[in-house]
Amino acid sequence: MSVDIISAPHTGNHTIFLAGPPGCGKTTVAVQRLYHLLNKGVPAEQILILVPQRTLAAPYYQVLRQAGFPAGGNVDISTIGGLARRTLDLFWPLVAATAGFAHPDQRPCFLTLETAQYYMDRTVEPFIARGAFDGLTISRSRLVSQIIDNLNKAAAVGFPLDEIASRLKAAWAGESARLAVFDQVQEVALAFRRLCLAENLLDWSLQIHLFWHQLLPLPQFRRYLLGGYRHLIVDNTEEDIPATHDLLRIWLPLCESALLIYDTEGGYRIFLGADPKGALALADLCREHVVQSASYVTSAGMEALGLTLARYFLQDIPRLKTRVDPLQVLEPQGQRFHPQMLEWVSETVASLVMEEGIPPGQIAILSPFLSDALRFSLIERLQRYGIQVHTHRPSRELREEPPIRCLLTLAKLAHPSWRRPPPPTDVAHALMLAIADLDPVRAHLLTEIVYRVRDGQLVLSPFYQIVPSTQERISYLLGGRYDELWRWLQAYINRRDGPERLDLFLSRLFGELLSQVGFGFHRDLDAGALAAKLIESIRKFLQAFSSLNWQGTRALASVSGSSAEQPVSTGTLRTGMDVGLEYVDMVERGILAAQHISSWLGPAENAVLLVPAYTFLMMNQPVTIQFWLDAGSRAWFERIYQPLTHPYVLRRDWPGDQLWTDEEETRAREEFLGRLILGLTRRCRQRIYLVYSDLNERGYEQRGPLLQAVQRTLVESKKS
């Protein structure tokens, strides 16, 4: 069957819909199909690979980079957002005026996630000052991101922007006081859109909106897009948004060939607007409909476990065909206290690695949430056994990441002109992270002596000026490393050309010093990844501002209600360096979240993976062993707290006049957990350790639905 798909005709509108569970080789078939197309002489430029997010394109990128790949032009790999952005940039003069932009003659500024958060934060500011969102317990960063989320959902699903509040209100079954909050969300969303139109700012939602309503109706654009890409490979359609599916509805009848891939158990990105039903409906537009079912990843026992557990939460799970004991691949392990559970996990991981020879990279420790305390405690314990750990937490505030705090503290030390001398504790922590082997006691001792703040100005002195007895205590080796850092910073401060752009400064600091032997980021995988992410984030932020310049400042003034004569932040946005300070302020105020899934860098083979379960699914990399941590936690079953938006109510298939009641909530949660279980088991080759503690880290008893499902399986297995 696979061979038939790979070598299917590539002319005459030959469209194939390939469905199957994870691990059945769908993407492998698609990659082979790509080879086939190129080998048959299809020009690379005519092929478009469309994915819902960039990380899911990893298998294609790998192939394209391989030496044996057919030479020729470039195959485009894109998301719908990437496509919209690229084509809007190209066709800007045609859409700018009709779309309602105030300055159609000037170039657009495409907002990144960071800059969108920045502008939304500024948009929200005057509303909050007027008392909006009072009585709602929510952090500023969540407030900002949930309003952005609403804008994005409107664009992805295709409903008018001014319907956000009415949709949320129509489904709200709780206390009436919340209804006013939805109106405030609506007001902010519309204000943000007005700001964007006034200042040529294009956030993701506006990009998608314009793509649909301005570009697609243009005949010349249709010719360009639909005539240019004649062959489509669309992977993970179930994770993509309705806007993508709508585009494919137009495109499929017109292309020469198309291969659409659908994961029958996917749909994890529902919170980001994924529409698995809409994806499945595309099958009707395809000439061929192929279903694959055999998994190359999971064993029969693992498949049985997934189906058995998921059956408690999902309606349409098939009965097991063969009599396989689902419990043979599951090892439940309960402890009384949370630390005991972590201890047990560490010992078991160590034994797997050292005695059973399982590579650390083939072990994933998954939990519903990954708090700092959990991460720290596990990493500490595993490192005792010499086992490296790789972690990834999306949507986390940057300021909470110690390596980020270290870099920003060093940036403050290098920029006395900012007049932001960091507190001594921050300096000590930064030195501790920056200098390899510098322990906290010596870091503080060193800071007490070399760091002073006088009249708001910081003074950093070298190690060699310290009295010998203290030098002895700190050790000359560590002192030497400090001096190296000090010299680097002094050289930078004394640069003739003045300060560099913040991203360049950090790149050099990282490349020339921190990543070198003797410095803290040399061996720390996560710290290195975070540094790269920070630099990338700042770069995009600065780029957006450099293209804005005057626009941004005026925009802020108009949104915040200031007069044009007294623009907000004018002085701070003139140079890249000042914008850098603006960025640092944003991080410290908690506005910026850290990595998003799109920026995920990939697993490390020599390190155990420690991630939230949902993130693991999105990484789509099977492992040999999984640990399901805190299996008793209700968080396995619950949605994150989103008082200002609603992933289900804002979906296309939600009937507008229906209340979101206990029944819907329960069904959604069950659906979520059921799919999670299927997804995780499909990505595990050998064994799952289900670990839990009677009391969680807060001292509360926990016995959530996941654990209850396991209990039910045990009971039923005993009965049978």
Partner: protein
């Protein structure tokens, strides 16, 4: 557990398969164990996605139940702790609301404030009301008997306290009656004219403070414990689909200590059980001792027992006490029913007598020992003399009975503290089961000391203090205490902390001092070094996560962990409000909490499981002693103040000497409040529906109190297995109190019986 052989009456309970059942059980009849066995039986009968719901009174009972049930079902190769759920009423209410907070207008992350915090908020509301109503006391003070100076003094000190207590009771009762401030404010004008002016002032006071209090809670997005219960009921009423789901989840409800059930508890459980549901209520109405200061009332259980369709079982056999003690307890019940001088309280007890177990019972009663009873009724027994008498008695008895358990039970905490002072002086070992010790303060102090050492990593003294709080907490063991002192002094004298915590190969402080130390001391220092290094590495985490990391490293008790979590949240809030705060500032915040200078939203004081120790005196209130037993028991202060009998010369704690006409203002206010819960929709209601003659509630409150104290005395007596000593005192010098009437009755009975036996 394997040896459990149910008696005939217990078998009737264990034969239960469904429907409604009411079980009344005498003290020591094994009701809790029988209920646990029944729960374990039912667990194996239900579907795997269902749970047997067990509702009990206090947290200590929750753990007790879990242990028992786990032992019973663990041999079935199932995950421990499944198939059942044990909760206090608050725990259950939290479970119910937690799943659907939006239904009652709460955010998903709503906060529950504890009693201390709610006390603070209420006090603010009271203070505001007092400031706005300076003349209010004149309606209530006994002006004829007080001079101007006294009046000023009362207004300044006593009146605010009275209003505080009254407001607390008023708010609690209003919530129990499901009356919101809005409803009360709406109804107040309709009933005010039926009342006297002072009655109107009294209720207005309660309503206004209540309204203010609720506003503050709403502003903070929080609810208090009483709200939690009220809201749980509301959630169940509001969403039938959710109620159905819970009914399916909990097909059996077993309720322990049902005599202390409140109206709301009963309504919640009744809803969850459904019309034809399975609900077993077990309790002893004769041990109902919470009526006065909670919304509990044994009436609910009694009425349930009379409902049609309820199977009634009595567990009357008890193997706990020796026959003489059983006889005395039974006599108290009979005497009350037939001879109590106040006729209205003769129904205080259910006519239910304790029966000794049969000869072949596994739990046989201790052998008869009539001399084990001492009812000390000497005249003029002063307060000091009573204390000395008990201490002397203990000093004689304890050395000879190191393998026995003994308790001194007092009616109030203050009396317990007085005894403890004396025991300390006499060097008599004791454990205290009085007011709960402040876990909050201790937890904050432990974390403060550790954080202080992290904030000043180069200080050996701070490290030494962190060592002290890291050490196992057993100050009773002199050997360990000496070791802690010795090692702490060593650490404090460490010249360079880094040479201990992160030593260089050529300079390890620990190696240099090892020759002077014992191997155990070295082992402790090594272990502490590992912990301290781990803490230091964690110091770069955000403050809440740092606290959680330290807490999971240091604490094991659920209560401590939960408290640490609350502290972590508090500091996290501070960090968000003050981004410049660093460890040093957080340490100061913790220190303030540890010193108790700022009230902190800790947990509600909760009971912990208690096992009476041998060779030590347990000093406890009679309330705290419920559910426990000792070989020898002393009951102190059995006089007519702590155990009044409705006699003319009795005085009552709730009737303040400065209030006119001996009114119990709290009782008067609650009675008026109760009328406001009536049916306001009926225009033809009789005119006197809402009127309450002044003083009527005070008289009723007296009777209720007399009844409850009789039952408290019964609880005290039935704690004793072999020996019982009851004493009384005349109170403070100006009081001239009398022995309690029931004590006199018991004494008379016992003397007569003794002389009869001697004669025969």
């Amino acid at each position: 557990m394997n040896d459990f052989q149910p008696r005939a009456d217990q078998k009737r309970v264990l034969a239960y398969t469904g429907g409604k059942m009411g079980v009344t059980a005498v003290p020591g009849s094994g009701k809790t164990h029988t209920l646990a066995v029944l729960a374990a039986q039912l667990v194996s009968a239900i579907d795997s996605d269902q749970e047997v719901l067990i509702v009990t009174l206090v947290n200590s009972a929750v753990d007790n139940f879990k242990q028992r049930i786990n032992q019973l079902i663990k041999r079935q190769r199932l995950l421990a702790g499944f198939g059942y759920r044990v909760r206090t009423l608050h725990g259950l209410a939290h479970d119910i609301v937690r799943e659907r907070p939006g239904l009652v207008g709460l955010a998903e992350d709503f906060q529950i404030i504890d009693e201390r915090r709610s006390d603070d908020i209420r006090e603010d509301a009271v203070d505001a009301w007092l400031r706005g109503h300076p003349e209010a006391p004149t309606s209530f003070l006994a002006l004829d008997e007080l001079d101007a100076k006294q009046i000023e003094w009362i207004k300044r000190s006593h009146w605010p306290n009275l209003v505080r207590d009254l407001a607390a009771a008023f708010i609690k009762r209003a919530k129990d009656l499901q009356l919101t401030p809005e409803v009360l404010l709406e109804r107040l004008p309709l009933v005010r004219e039926r009342w006297t002016p002072s009655q109107a002032v009294l209720v207005s006071m309660g309503v206004e403070i209540y309204a203010n209090y609720q506003r503050s809670l709403a502003y903070q997005g929080a609810v208090d414990f009483d709200d939690l219960i009220r809201l749980a009921l509301e959630v169940l009423r509001r969403d039938p689909a959710y109620l159905d789901r819970l009914r399916r989840r909990w097909p059996y409800i077993l309720e322990d200590e049902a005599q202390d059930s409140s109206k709301l508890q009963e309504e919640i459980l009744r809803l969850l059980a459904g019309e034809s549901g399975n609900w077993v209520r077990v309790g002893d109405p004769n041990q109902a001792i919470y009526e006065t200061f909670t919304n509990a009332n044994p009436r609910f259980l009694r009425e349930f027992l009379e409902e049609p369709g309820v199977t009634r079982v009595t567990l009357s056999a008890s193997g706990r006490s020796q026959p003489a003690i059983i006889e005395l307890a039974n006599y108290l019940v009979q005497w009350t029913q037939t001879q109590h001088p106040t006729e209205e309280v003769r129904g205080s007890f259910l006519p239910q007598l304790i029966m000794p177990t049969s000869a072949d019972d596994l739990q046989r009663n201790p052998p008869a020992a009539p001399h084990g009873i001492q009812l000390v009724l000497q005249p003029g027994f002063s307060s000091e003399r009573e204390l000395r008498f008990v201490a002397d008695s203990l000093a004689r008895w304890l050395p000879e009975h190191q393998d026995c358990t003994v308790a001194v039970l007092v009616p109030r905490n203050e009396r317990g503290f007085e005894l403890i002072n004396l025991l300390k002086q006499r060097k008599i070992p004791y454990v205290e089961l009085l007011r709960s010790t402040s876990t909050t303060r201790q937890t904050a102090e432990v974390l403060e000391k550790i954080l202080r050492c992290l904030a000043e990593p180069t200080s050996a003294r701070k490290l030494s203090e962190a060592f002290r709080v890291w050490c196992p907490d057993d100050p009773e063991n002199p050997e360990i205490k000496a070791r802690i002192d010795r090692i702490a002094r060593r650490i404090a004298g460490c010249p360079a902390v880094e040479a201990y915590l992160w030593p260089r190969a050529d300079l390890d402080w620990l190696t240099t001092i090892t020759p002077e130390l014992s191997p155990e001391d070295v082992a402790w220092l090594l272990e502490f070094r590992e912990a301290a290094c781990r803490w230091h590495r964690a110091a770069i985490l955000p403050i809440d996560q740092l606290i959680l990391t330290l807490a999971n490293d240091r604490f094991r008790e659920a209560k401590e962990l939960a408290l640490a979590y609350k502290l972590a949240l508090l500091l996290r809030d501070l960090a968000d409000s003050y981004p410049t705060y660093r460890l040093a500032e957080f340490v100061e915040e913790l220190a303030v909490i540890a010193r108790n200078e700022r009230r902190f939203l800790g947990l509600a004081e909760e009971d912990t499981g208690f096992e009476p120790p041998q060779g030590k005196v347990t000093v406890a209130t009679m309330h705290k002693a419920k559910g426990l037993e000792w070989d020898r028991v002393y009951l102190m202060s059995v006089n007519n103040y702590d155990f009044p009998s409705g006699q003319a010369h009795d005085t009552y704690i709730a009737e303040k000497w400065f209030v006119r006409d001996g009114l119990n203002l709290e009782a008067e206010a609650l009675a008026l409040l109760a009328t406001m819960a009536g049916d306001f929709s009926n225009p033809d209601a009789p005119a006197d529906q809402f009127s309450v003659p002044e003083g009527q509630a005070t008289r009723q409150a007296r009777l209720d109190y007399v009844s409850e104290r009789l039952r408290l005395l019964y609880v005290g007596i039935t704690r004793a297995k072999q020996e019982l000593i009851v004493t009384w005192n005349t109170g403070r010098s100006d009081r001239k109190l009398q022995p309690a009437v029931p004590l006199i009755a018991l004494h008379g009975y016992w003397q007569q019986k003794q002389s009869q036996e001697e004669n025969s």
